[in-house]
């Protein structure tokens, strides 16, 4: 079971509280989106789930185990970065198989998983190419492929579509949704784009100034926004 639970999670940078006590239960296989203005703490929360930031207070549990002190590689998560973070000196195949190679997975297993992920994302012809030979959309798909190959408990997306132009963004949104329906892995997705949140999420978590303002399905949020500000974009 891959549910994620956040219990009173706090993040402090020196004297500044970036995340001020977040409580959240994410169900297994759920696609949850953290949305909010810059600086609201959504990325920080995501990175704490990933293990890239130390947790200043509170607990995070993945699949029922508290992971506060567990390093990222042992948390069974995979992350898709805003800037893709593809290794420039490796081709697509090597990029996707790097994590498995480090774990000393047998070659046939690696090959099977990489080709399966490549099939899902439609990037099989790109396996030999280096990142610099790929377009933005293709790189994004490779980044997702890298995540899928790990077969993790949780997918973490950190504003993955912000670097793409508007048309590509819409295209990739549907891709991500399709992938989620195929792979059915718990997903935590961070964005500042409200439309993106509404189209992708099973549930939306609205954050502001380090706290959760509202949690609910896109439908609920649309009809019963918690604050005046939420009302404005939806008219």
């Amino acid at each position: 079971m891959a549910q994620v639970t956040l219990r009173n999670v706090v993040k402090k940078y020196d004297e500044v509280l970036a995340v001020r006590g977040v409580d959240l239960d994410i169900a297994d296989k759920e696609f949850i989106v953290l949305v909010g203005p810059s600086g609201c703490g959504k990325s920080t929360t995501l990175r704490m789930i990933a293990g890239l930031e130390e947790i200043s207070g509170g607990d995070i549990a993945i699949g029922g185990n508290v992971v506060n002190d567990v390093p990222p590689k042992d948390r069974d998560i995979a992350m898709v970065f805003q800037n893709y973070a593809l290794y420039p000196h490796m081709n697509v195949y090597e990029n996707m198989s790097f994590g498995l190679k480090l774990k000393k997975t047998p070659k046939e297993e690696i090959d099977r998983r990489v080709r399966q992920a490549a099939g899902i994302l439609d990037i099989t012809e790109l396996l030999d190419r280096k990142p610099k030979q790929l377009s933005g959309g293709q790189r994004q798909r490779v980044a997702m492929g890298r995540a899928i190959v790990r077969d993790p408990k949780v997918f973490l997306f950190d504003e993955p579509l912000s670097n793409l132009d508007a048309k590509l963004r819409v295209q990739m949104r549907t891709e991500i949704k399709k992938v989620h329906q195929k792979v059915r892995t718990t997903t935590v997705y961070v964005t500042h784009d409200q439309v993106e949140a509404m189209t992708l999420a099973d549930r939306v978590v609205v954050m502001n100034a380090g706290l959760i303002e509202q949690v609910g399905s896109p439908n609920d949020l649309y009809h019963m926004p918690a604050t005046k500000r939420r009302q404005a974009p939806y008219g």
Binding site: A50, G51, L52, P71, P72, K73, I77, A78, M79, F81, Q82, N83, A85, L86, Y87, P88, H89, F98, G99, L102, K103, R146, R150
Partner: protein
């Protein structure tokens, strides 16, 4: 429909392109002219070294045109390469340089990785300190080092003077600061997200260094290696101060001291020796010129 009537026989306006390209052409001609002049100035000494090296000693002392070779001969090369001394110099230089390069690169790369990526107490101070060390000249340090070696001899019995391998300990002080500086620049330019991706993929710090950073920063590593080699190969002061017996000398000192016996300068051999001594850096330069230059400019512009 345009109703422009062109009167037959109207004067055609001359195109203006001509005047621009003319001044540009003259600028090019002057540029090439001066470049050739400067090339003559810069390349004249090495070319003259070569010319002299293929002259026999009779021709050298004759009053003929020194810029031309009337009777080319390889006797200088033959004698130099069969005389034991020169080959020993070459061997010493090669051993010292290779060892120093390996030591320098290991120290620099690990230190640069730590300084560029892992923040620890005093890391910024250390980085500035490294740069400052590069500015401390060897001409300041050789005297106290001289005494320090004597001290080591008196206390531990290890004789550091007059051994070519002592240079392996000393030379890194000349190459490590700059190499570290270069590598910090290259490492710092690698996006942080790459580290994080590697961390999530399960790489330890060492694996991140070897499988990600080093391959991505390879141009910097090549440039730093070339720099370390060139500096070691060309070093003159330390070996002059610390090695005296012929079999312990490295190339620069060997040529200068042994081939100049008293008042008799065997110029043919000296020039041959100097040319062969300059050959390794020149060959590396010829093949890896871009990395060479990258290393140079990296230090100053990457700050």
């Amino acid at each position: 429909m345009a109703n422009v009537a062109v009167a037959a026989g109207a004067p055609v306006r001359p195109l203006h392109y001509g005047s621009i390209s003319k001044s540009r052409r003259w600028a090019l001609r002057w540029s090439y002219f001066f470049l050739v002049l400067f090339c003559i100035f810069f390349l004249m000494p090495p070319i003259y070294m070569f010319i002299t090296s293929i002259k026999g000693s009779a021709e050298i002392s004759a009053a003929t045109n020194p810029w031309w070779v009337f009777h080319p001969t390889l006797e200088n090369y033959a004698e130099l390469l069969t005389k034991n001394e020169y080959l020993i110099f070459f061997r010493n230089s090669a051993l010292v340089s290779v060892c120093v390069v390996i030591i320098s690169m290991v120290i620099s790369v690990t230190a640069a990785f730590a300084l560029a990526r892992m923040k620890f107490w005093g890391s910024t101070a250390l980085a500035t300190g490294v740069f400052l060390t590069y500015l401390v000249p060897d001409t300041l340090l050789f005297i106290p080092l001289f005494k320090m070696f004597a001290f080591v001899r008196d206390t531990t019995g290890i004789e550091l003077m007059n051994h070519w391998w002592t240079l392996i300990i000393l030379y890194p002080t000349l190459s490590v600061p700059f190499c570290t500086w270069i590598m910090i620049g290259y490492f710092a330019s690698i996006p942080k997200e790459l580290d994080e991706a590697a961390l999530i993929d399960g790489a330890s710090w060492l694996q991140t260094l070897t499988k990600i950073f080093i391959p991505v920063a390879l141009p910097g590593i090549i440039a730093a290696t070339i720099f370390a080699f060139t500096v070691s190969w060309a070093q003159f002061l330390y070996p002059l101060a610390f090695t005296t017996s012929t079999d312990q000398l490295v190339l620069p000192v060997g040529i200068v001291t042994t081939l100049i016996k008293g008042d008799v300068f065997n110029w043919g051999q000296i020039m041959t020796g100097a040319l062969l001594g300059a050959a390794p850096p020149l060959i590396i330069y010829a093949f890896l010129m871009d990395y060479y230059i990258a290393g140079l400019t990296a230090g100053a512009t990457k700050g």
